[in-house]
Every structure is written in structure tokens, then in C-alpha cells.
């Protein structure tokens, strides 16, 4: 196996061009996921902008924008001359809530299956419902 060691960063980012999610948001989500999964904890340094840029061949502003967003969310803080560091952990959703949500989802999937929906239709329905929810939230926010 060939293994490239990427600097001294705790985590590495990847970008999915087909996801439709803007690159800076993909970075924000990957940091949040790393916090949820325990790859990152408060006090850890986020990958240096130059390292991310060199690994992904992306515009430095994209990384800066992602880190600013993380600062805005209170998850990270910049230390001048040093870099950006994890400030707070993410509240992990309690296991009980997860179980309950999962039960409801399985029930719903059963119903969808009985109604004759295939996997793609289910995914399309979920993404369009999420789209609707987000845009109605945006409408009420603005």
C-alpha cells in the first residue's frame, strides 16, 4: 500500500465535486464530523491553510471562509500567527434520540416501500423535502 503522510495535521479533507455542496461548506461539515467522531477535540489545531490548499489544489480563500464559518459557530478560534484551533466540541445527539428517530425513519421507509417507491425515489423525495424545509426556513429568517 502506498501511503502519503500529509504533514502534521490531525485530519485530512476531501472534496466531492458532485455533491453540489459548496467546497467551503464541505470543509465545515468535515470538521464538524471529525468533532462528532472524536478525531478532533478542543485545543487541537485545524490543518494549516497552506497544507489544505496544497493537498486539494483549492483557492486559499475557500479554506479561510470555512474556518471563519467555524469561528462564527463558536467551534474554532484563530490565534494570530499560529493558526486556527478547535474551541469547543459538538453536542453529540443523545443515543436515545437517535434510536427514536431511526425507528420512525424505518417505519416511514416501510410505508414508502409498500407504496412502491424504489431507493432512488426515496432519496429524491428526502432531498426535495429537505430542500423545501431549508428554503422555508430561509424565507422565515429573511
Amino acid at each position: 500500500m502506498e501511503l502519503d503522510k500529509q504533514g502534521s495535521s490531525a485530519i485530512a479533507f476531501r472534496l466531492d465535486p458532485a455533491s453540489g455542496v459548496p467546497p467551503y461548506q464541505q470543509i465545515v461539515r468535515q470538521v464538524e464530523d471529525a468533532l462528532r467522531l472524536g478525531y478532533l477535540s478542543p485545543g487541537d489545531q485545524l490543518p494549516k491553510v497552506k497544507d489544505v490548499v496544497a493537498a486539494l489544489a483549492i483557492n486559499p480563500n475557500t479554506v479561510l471562509k470555512a474556518y471563519r464559518e467555524l469561528e462564527h459557530k463558536g467551534l474554532a478560534a484563530g490565534r494570530p500567527g499560529l493558526g486556527t484551533f478547535v474551541e469547543a466540541g459538538l453536542d453529540v445527539v443523545p443515543l436515545r434520540d437517535l434510536h427514536s428517530l431511526r425507528r420512525k425513519l424505518v417505519k416511514w421507509l416501510d410505508e414508502a416501500d409498500e407504496a412502491g417507491l424504489d431507493d432512488e425515489s426515496v432519496s429524491a423525495l428526502i432531498s426535495s423535502a429537505r430542500h423545501e424545509m431549508r428554503s422555508s426556513k430561509r424565507m422565515t429568517a429573511s
Binding site: P17, V49, A57, I58, N59, P60, S142
Partner: protein
């Protein structure tokens, strides 16, 4: 602070105008993509910024009003021409020595370090390098002059995907490190989205679109709906370009204020590639910033 400013610039070769009435102000500190079909005038504009050719009409300046080709401009600007021309019979080390002798600013250690990081042997003849290594030598030479403004003409057009990625990675790391302005031309739009934060679209010798990439993407949407209702819906939007099949129509529209989605239609976000292609398909539509008057988008 502007990297390039053009006022009503035109360039005529014989009876053909390569550029006509080209007005543009590219802010400094940005990574600017100059895109457009072959023959749109991209190389002409770049050559003018470097001082290799002069406008027939109008005026073009670089680095906050400096005359292209003046010694200040030559010191501050590095140019990587199309197909990254280097002397094939010189070794990499001799190439460095040559540029060192031709430049006022030269950071030999910087060039050597960059080439060592890429495992490019200094003793090898340039003609024996792979396409990716060849391009990297040209980039290393340009960056070792510590330019304030780096101009590249189709830098990755002939490179394979891995070499393209590595080239852009080195370029972006230099931007992160030194904050230089970059202007690069390309006719491959897809790969620019990750790299560029400012877009200039040239079409038939004129500037068709200019602006911040995020802002451009945020102010355009894709409308999808029944073909029969296209005309009615289009009248309520700034339609850049629309295409219609028998039953379904798709239109790229420009949105400058919140608008409700028409009933029975979908309003989706767009991306840089879709946006550029839509404008190129509608040569009479344009999206231009400030001093050229209010932003306008006309249906073609």
C-alpha cells in the same frame, strides 16, 4: 488596488478586431479566471498585460496604473506563456541560471527547494522532462521571481489530471504564502471553480461577465418547468439563456432580489460551469460590475 485595468481597449490584427471596446478592472489579491472560447481574445489581453503587444485603441495598465512592459511592471509581473516554453536543450539547472541572469529579482533557494519538493532532477535536460515536470519548472521559475502578479496562459491545457492537480496545488500554496494576484486563462471551466475567486468571461473580443465567483453563483439560479409556460415565466425574470424540449424548459436566470418560485417550477442553485456555458451560449447577455453602469442581463 487593481492588477489590470482596461479602458475601451481594442486590438486590431489587419482587418480583424481581436479585442473591441474592452473595459475591465481586475482587483489585486485575487485568483482570476479568464475564460472564453478559442479566438475570444484571451491571449491578446494577456499579452497586452505583459507588454508583448500594445492596444490599437484605448488604454491598459497593470499594478495600479503602471505601463505594461515598463521596468516596474516587468519586475512585478511573471508570465507563463501558453505551452510553457523553455529551452529543451538546457538542463533544469542551466534554465535557473539563465533566468537568474535575466531577472532583477531572483530567489535561487526558492526555485531549488520547490523543484526538490517535486523530485525534479536539476541535471536533466528540459526536453527530457514529462509534461507535468516541464510545466512545474516554468512555474517554479516564475514564482522564484516573487512576482506581485502572475499571469498564466492556458497553463494546464495539455496536462494529465494528476499533473493538473499538482500544478494547481503548487500555485495555490504560493497564493496562500505570498498573497500574489493571479490571472489565468483557460477554456476548461470545470477545474477553475475550486481555484478561482474572480471570473472574467471574454466573448468575441468583449468582456461579457466580470465579478466575484461566489457573488455570481449566488445571484444566478436555474429554473425548470413546463415548456408551455416558459414565455410567461421568463417575462418575470432576467433570463440569461433558456433551452426548451417538447415538455420541459430549463433557464438560467439572474436574481438580484428575492423572488417567489413560480408555481409548478423548480428554482435550483447553479455552478460556475453552468453559468459560464449559459453566458457563452447567449453572447448578447452580460453581467458586469459597477462603473459600466447598473448590472444588466438581457435575454438573447
Amino acid at each position: 488596488m487593481t492588477a489590470v485595468e482596461a479602458q475601451a481597449v481594442g486590438k486590431r490584427y489587419g482587418r480583424t478586431w481581436a479585442l473591441r471596446d474592452c473595459t475591465l478592472a481586475v482587483p489585486s489579491g485575487r485568483v482570476v479566471a479568464l475564460v472564453g472560447p478559442n479566438g475570444a481574445g484571451k491571449s491578446t489581453l494577456l499579452n497586452m498585460a505583459v507588454g508583448l503587444t500594445t492596444p490599437t485603441t484605448g488604454r491598459l495598465t497593470v499594478l495600479d496604473g503602471t505601463e505594461p512592459g515598463s521596468s516596474t511592471a516587468l519586475d512585478g509581473i511573471a508570465f507563463v506563456a501558453q505551452d510553457t516554453p523553455l529551452y529543451p536543450n538546457l538542463s533544469v539547472a542551466d534554465t535557473l541560471r539563465l533566468v537568474a541572469n535575466l531577472s532583477n529579482r531572483w530567489d535561487e533557494a526558492n526555485a531549488r527547494q520547490r523543484l526538490a519538493d517535486l523530485d525534479i532532477p536539476l541535471g536533466r535536460r528540459v526536453g527530457k522532462l514529462s509534461g507535468g515536470q516541464h510545466a512545474q519548472v516554468a512555474l517554479a521559475v516564475a514564482l522564484a521571481r516573487h512576482p506581485e502578479f502572475l499571469i498564466l496562459d492556458e497553463p494546464v491545457a495539455r496536462l494529465d489530471p494528476l499533473a493538473r492537480h499538482d500544478f494547481m496545488a503548487v500555485l495555490m500554496a504560493a497564493v496562500a504564502d505570498e498573497g500574489l494576484s493571479v490571472l489565468l486563462s483557460s477554456h476548461v471551466v470545470a477545474e477553475l471553480e475550486r481555484v478561482c475567486d474572480y471570473l472574467v468571461v471574454l466573448s468575441r473580443g468583449q468582456v461579457q461577465v466580470a465579478g466575484d465567483v461566489d457573488e455570481l453563483v449566488a445571484t444566478h439560479r436555474v429554473l425548470t418547468g413546463p415548456a408551455g409556460e416558459l414565455d410567461a415565466v421568463a417575462s418575470a425574470f432576467d433570463v440569461v439563456h433558456a433551452h426548451s424540449a417538447e415538455r420541459q424548459a430549463i433557464a438560467l436566470v439572474r436574481i438580484t432580489r428575492p423572488v417567489p418560485t413560480p408555481a409548478g417550477w423548480r428554482l435550483d442553485e447553479t455552478n460556475l460551469e453552468e453559468l459560464v456555458l449559459s453566458y457563452l451560449r447567449a453572447p448578447r447577455a452580460s453581467a458586469l460590475p459597477g462603473p459600466l453602469g447598473e448590472r444588466r442581463a438581457m435575454s438573447a
